[in-house]
């Protein structure tokens, strides 16, 4: 079987499932779920197969390289298996054809495996979560559509295909956030998410056009002709636009799109509101996969960023924005009371971490954290969903508490996720991946500020997670519902994800960093060596983060955990310093700021254009109408009095003279018959005369 058919199947199967499910009836819940999950299982299996396949390929190649070295040839080990691609023409206009393609390299393979895995678990989870919803079928249609689009983004070998799937992802998230469209907040949130991401995508689109103009192609890899390959990069690096290299401009434009999807600082506002959607959606889209698409995009087109060296302007911007977002979001998260909102802001800040890693040039660390984060954040969200489910759609953490007794399994898995997110040493994937990022930031020669911000953000992360845990699971129950454990179909994915969050720490340890190396697709063939742990640069970071975690947990416990809290009393922090807390609780007034500026400006412009339309354009139209009326009446008059008169008179004359001839035409059949008879006789006579 052709490998590319296999690759193409990965996104096509969910699309197909979506297409079929869309046609199902509302009652056919079982069938739709079976279809969607089944296709997802197959996609997951395929992507897993691809992942390991490529892994094996790399090892085989590496082995060959070593063998060749051992044989004394000068073949270096640089020719690792760098992935493979497959391009096909999409549409032809004029002489040049637009080609799309599929790409299978470590990055996409790992990403695809992760995405399909998490998506699969979340699908299974939502079977339990959405059971009562009467639009179950529609929900699964959207989910499957989303999954297909996401896998398309991951596996595409062309910026155009990426963009198409990118927009499909946006559409799916719009539909899913607004799934409960009868809730006005949900509808508003969906609209907000859509528009905000559009802002970024506009940059993405322009960047894409520019890239096409500059590189002449949108394929990533095309045997040297791709836009991520030397020739194109060189030309882009050389051409300057207002002092900046064209490559950087394009990179920044594309980064706009990435920031929009990944909720980086200026465009992060939609992400917390998106929590209005069903919790699986939050877990799927706004924690694990979609928001990661931005990071993935940047990683994918990383060569463009580095076209002008490892410390290009674009990377600088990415690093700064990432670091700032990380800190900023963490700050806001401290003062939130909605369980999902806290997670949302933590997501934003974690994405900031990833962007920071990218900015400081460590793709491996970024992807590592992305995947690790995908696991434990999905775990956290699903856990939160389980909690919300357990206390009957209550989302305010102040009305929870002491749930560790009523839902132990949820508590267990949730705490694992929390520890992973906090980066609790050694046993949790978060620890290693975050340390990798901190390490990369620390060893960034340009500046240490991002590193410091990141450290602070890490501290805050630990703090607010502790806060949330204490609020939710410890103390006494402050709500009014009767909390209960969720069904297996929800808890089993939790367990699996928890296991993943823990086990994933194994391939993330710097002791055996083959995975990071695999993702960043760099050349060192890595073996297991404990010395990686004792390597000085890393050791300090590890110790530092351990301290951070310890302090964070201690402080959090000190503030919240000492004595049981009551629902009415204000947050201890608020008591400590009100204005700051208020500011944070109101998310630093970013939304208000946007309302005051962007939205109002738009409204004003709309009013203006409406006025212009009503008074100027319509007036013009009226004037034109009047003019044409006048002209037409004129021509009508001419018609009637000049042309028609002559025509009528001629017609009358004709009728007059025709009447005379028409006289013998009396409409009498038998008259005609008579004439025919006479004619026949004449004919007969004629024939007789001729023959005789």
């Amino acid at each position: 079987m052709n490998i590319f058919l296999l690759i193409a199947l990965v996104p096509l199967l969910p699309f197909l499932a979506a297409g079929i499910t869309a046609l199902l009836k509302r009652e056919q819940q079982g069938l739709s779920a079976t279809l969607v999950i089944g296709s997802q299982v197959i996609a997951f299996a395929i992507s897993l197969y691809l992942f390991f396949g490529i892994l094996v390929m790399r090892w085989v190649y590496e082995l060959l390289g070593r063998v060749s070295i051992a044989l004394g040839s000068h073949a270096t080990n640089t020719h690792l298996f760098a992935g493979d691609f497959f391009n096909f023409p999409w549409l032809t206009f004029g002489h040049d054809t637009l080609r799309l393609g599929l790409l299978l390299d470590p990055l996409s393979a790992g990403m695809a495996a992760m995405v399909s895995f998490v998506t699969l678990l979340i699908f299974i989870y939502s079977v339990g979560y959405m059971k009562e919803d009467r639009n179950f079928t529609r929900f699964f249609t959207f989910l499957s559509l989303f999954s297909g689009a996401m896998l398309g983004v991951v596996l595409s070998n062309s910026l155009l295909l990426t963009f198409i799937c990118w927009e499909l992802v946006g559409l799916a998230s719009y539909l899913l956030i607004g799934f409960w469209f009868h809730k006005p907040e949900a509808a508003a949130a969906a609209k907000k998410a859509f528009l905000t991401t559009r802002v970024g995508d506009m940059g993405f689109l322009i960047g894409m056009f520019w890239l096409y103009k500059a590189a002449g192609t949108l394929l990533f890899y095309d045997n040297g002709a791709g836009c991520l390959e030397q020739a194109a990069l060189a030309t882009m690096a050389k051409t300057m636009v207002g002092g900046i290299a064209l490559s950087n401009v394009i990179a920044l434009l594309i980064f706009c799109g990435a920031a929009g999807k990944s909720g980086q600082f200026p465009l992060h506002v939609w992400l917390p509101d998106a929590m209005e959607g069903p919790t699986p959606v939050s877990a799927l889209i706004h924690a694990a996969t979609m928001v990661a698409a931005g990071v993935f995009l940047v990683a994918r087109v990383f060569p463009i960023f580095t076209a002008t060296g490892a410390h290009s302007v674009s990377l600088l911007v990415v690093a700064c924005i990432g670091a700032f977002t990380a800190l900023f979001a963490a700050l806001i998260a401290v003062a939130q009371t909605d369980i999902k909102r806290i997670l949302a802001y933590s997501t934003v800040s974690q994405l900031g971490f990833m962007m920071l890693a990218l900015g400081v040039g460590s793709v491996g660390a970024a992807m590592l954290h992305l995947i690790a984060h995908a696991f434990f954040k999905a775990l956290l969200f699903l856990g939160a969903g389980s909690v919300i489910h357990g206390v009957h759609e209550e989302q305010d953490i102040r009305n929870m508490g002491g749930l560790s007794r009523s839902m132990p399994l949820t508590f267990l898995t949730y705490s694992i996720g929390m520890l992973a997110l906090a980066g609790f040493p050694v046993f949790f994937s978060g620890f290693w991946s975050k340390d990798a990022i901190l390490h990369a930031a620390h060893s960034w020669p340009v500046s240490q500020i991002p590193f410091i911000m990141a450290a602070a953000a890490a501290f805050l992360t630990v703090f607010y997670m502790t806060r949330q845990m204490t609020y939710v699971f410890f103390g006494s129950y402050r709500g009014h519902a009767h909390p209960h454990e969720s069904p297996n179909v929800m808890t089993i994915p939790l367990t699996i994800l928890a296991a993943a969050a823990v086990l994933f720490s194994i391939p993330t340890t710097p002791a055996w960093p083959w995975f990071e190396d695999f993702l960043s697709n760099s050349g060192e063939h890595v073996t297991f060596h404990l010395a990686g742990l004792l390597e000085p640069g890393f050791l300090h970071i590890a110790l530092l983060s351990t301290v951070i975690v310890a302090c964070g947990i201690a402080l959090g416990w000190f503030v919240y955990g000492r004595r049981p809290l009551s629902a009415t009393e204000p947050d201890p922090l608020e008591a400590a310093c009100t204005p700051l807390y208020k500011a944070l609780a109101n998310r630093l007034y970013v939304d208000e700021f946007y309302n005051a500026t962007v939205v109002r400006a738009l409204a004003a412009f709309g009013a203006l254009s409406a006025w212009v339309d009503r008074w100027i354009l319509q007036g013009a139209v009226k004037a034109a109408t009047g003019l044409s009326f006048f002209i037409s009446s004129l021509s009508d008059g001419m018609d009637r009095f000049l042309i028609n008169f002559g025509f009528d008179s001629s017609c009358d004359a004709l009728r007059e003279y025709g009447g005379g001839i028409a006289g013998c035409e009396r409409g009498r059949v038998q008259g005609y018959l008579r004439v025919i008879g006479i004619g026949a006789v004449v004919l007969l006579a004629l024939i007789g005369w001729l023959l005789a």
Binding site: Q670, R674, G677, I678, A680, V681, L684, A685, G688
Partner: protein
């Protein structure tokens, strides 16, 4: 016993005298004249049927038995019935839709008849002169083997006249549908 059958079939079944065909011919002409002359439409239709029957018999007498039977089947079975139905469906017009002054005027009918008769006389005269003064017609003799076996006719239909056959089929279909549409009572909406 076989010789017996031979003997019986050897009997001169078909030595009918030559003038026998004048009987159906005369019957046919009389019936036709009656059909034209009679006032009662049904009667004239029945007379027409009779003359058709006689014509069919005449065909058979002339040795074209297939044509004769087809004539009977089609004209007596179908056309006569059609005409009778049409007569019953169109009762004598009570309201005269035409407002031309001649109609009430009896003279017009007389003029009509006279002119028609004149034309008919003219045509007949022409035909008779053609018939009785043309040497070929006088010279013509009945060919001894003038027979139209059905098998031969069928073979002809499917070989030489296949195209006309198809054309006729199409025409008949079209006529059927067209007649049905024409005669259908159209709904006044």
């Amino acid at each position: 016993m076989h010789d017996l059958i031979q003997k019986l079939t050897a009997l001169p079944w078909d030595q009918s005298p030559q003038w026998l065909f004048l009987i159906p011919a005369g019957l046919m002409l009389l019936a036709a004249a009656a059909a034209v002359a009679l006032r009662n439409l049904i009667h004239s239709a029945l007379c027409l049927t009779l003359s058709f029957i006689a014509l069919g018999v005449l065909f058979i007498a002339l040795g074209a038995e297939f044509v004769g039977f087809v004539q009977l089947l089609v004209y007596v079975g179908a056309v006569a019935m059609l005409i009778i139905f049409a007569i019953l469906l169109t009762p004598a017009s009570e309201v005269s839709a035409s407002n031309n002054p001649f109609r009430s005027f009896k003279l017009s009918r007389a003029v009509n008849a006279v002119a028609g008769g004149a034309v008919v006389a003219l045509v007949l005269a022409g035909l008779f002169t053609a018939i009785f003064f043309s040497p070929r017609v006088r010279a013509a003799v009945p060919s001894p083997n003038a027979a139209a076996p059905v098998a031969l006719i069928g073979e002809n239909l499917l070989t030489h006249t296949l195209l006309p056959l198809q054309g006729t089929a199409i025409l008949l279909t079209a006529a059927l549908i067209g007649a049905a549409l024409l005669a259908k009572e159209e709904k006044e909406s």
